[in-house]
């Protein structure tokens, strides 16, 4: 229904006018630099605009805060990964990677992190040794000190996760 989309756009436009500065101010208290508070506030409205209209927005600030909070978690998550990257991966190849490569790698890390999120550490380790290093199951079993049977089970769990993510 194009008519509904249009009016949703108008509503979000009005909300933007009334609440953007407020939201940005709130976010600024959680972030170090003003620039990213601006980005995050803007992104919040973009998401609101893209989200389906379920009901009239009664408490816009509560809704905006909820969306912004989710974005903030994602941002923090990305920062955690960047920090972990610098500590664990960077020192060994710091001079060899271009800024583009680092950006590409960080993005890949983020996707991998999302994909494997919530799986036990042993499952992740097993899958990464297979997927990245190309080890066979007997080799993985030796490296991690687990049975080959466990390697198969762990692989099944991780692969199932990847297949599900591919379908959705």
């Amino acid at each position: 229904m194009p008519g509904a989309d249009n009016s949703h756009g108008q509503v979000v436009g009005l909300l933007f006018r009334d609440h953007y500065d407020w939201l940005q101010g709130r976010l600024r208290r959680h972030l170090e630099s003003g620039a990213s508070a601006e980005d995050l506030a803007a992104e919040t409205f973009v998401q609101l605009l893209a989200s389906p209209v379920l009901a009239p927005i009664r408490e816009p600030r509560a809704l905006l805060t909820t969306i912004a909070r989710r974005l903030l978690f994602q941002l923090w998550r990305r920062r955690d990964l960047e920090r972990a990257y610098l500590q664990n991966l960077d020192p060994e190849a710091a001079d060899e990677r271009s800024p583009e490569q680092i950006a590409e790698l960080l993005e890949a890390l983020q996707r991998i992190d999302q994909l494997l999120d919530g799986l036990p550490a042993k499952v992740k380790a097993t899958f990464l040794l297979s997927q990245i290093d190309g080890l066979t199951y007997p080799e993985i079993a030796r490296t991690l000190g687990i049975s080959q049977r466990s390697v198969s089970d762990y692989m099944a769990r991780a692969l199932q996760r990847c297949l599900k993510a591919s379908l959705s």
Partner: protein
Amino acid sequence: MTREQEQTLLIEQATRWLVLLRSGQASREDWQAFVAWRERDQRHQQLCDQLEQTLGAFRVAKAQGVRGEQLQRTLSAAGASRRRLLYGALVGAGVMLCAGLLADRQVPLEELGADLHTATGRRQRVTLDDGSELVLNARSAVDVDFTPQRRLVRLRRGEIQLHVAGDTRPMLIASPFGQVFSRGGRLQLRQGEERCTASALEGALELATLAGERLQLPRRQQVSFDRYAFALPAPLLGGEGAWVDGLLEVRNQCLADVLDALRPYRSGVLRVDPAVAGLRVSGLFRLDDSDQALDVLARTLPIRVARRTDLWVSVGPA
């Protein structure tokens, strides 16, 4: 079979194939059988293609020479700091969903020198004539006294947040316990029965007790003081200024402090039993609905909130 059951079956079949093929022990016949399976059905082919796409992220890491063990270490280091973060943040997230925020009234101040005061449950935002922004918490009162030489705000009761506009004149905030001096930035001052608490939200502060003891308070720190001396300054926790938006943000503070913050939003008596006064609380509460805040506390802590009448509420052990 429903579409969902179909998909589950498809994923199971594909998983069995992939687990076998990656073992390093798959025979030539196994591979041929897999290719036949893939070509038998368009959905099989499609799933395999989509999986290749999903696994593209691993190829990027591999191409850059990252080893599996390094990647594992990186992910788990990020996970550890995330868990710490979530532990702290999620306590309040559930409450946040129902926390509607009320816009404050914006009142231009026309008469300087007039007493400003707020009633129970009301906040007020005022722009002073030098451009400074003053917010009064509920049940608070100030005098504003500006001369060509100095800017003076006298806190008589309650709590204020002041965004000090740049000006050649110094800004002095006076309380019965001492004075706060600011050259700009954002500060907060809360006056209790026996002491005051000053917070340097943005910019440093200079303080003096009534007895003349002095202290430089760096930005992002807070300190409480009585007429004579200062307590030890402590870093801000982050939620100190949330009341301006009608929120009470609490991080591991004691129940008595939380109830103190709710009190200006309630008429009548809110009594707390010493047996539970020291319980630690984290969360985000809506000041404008203090009854809801009490309900949330009662659900999350081993306490009982007894409402004898609307005007007499006591909080005790469950």
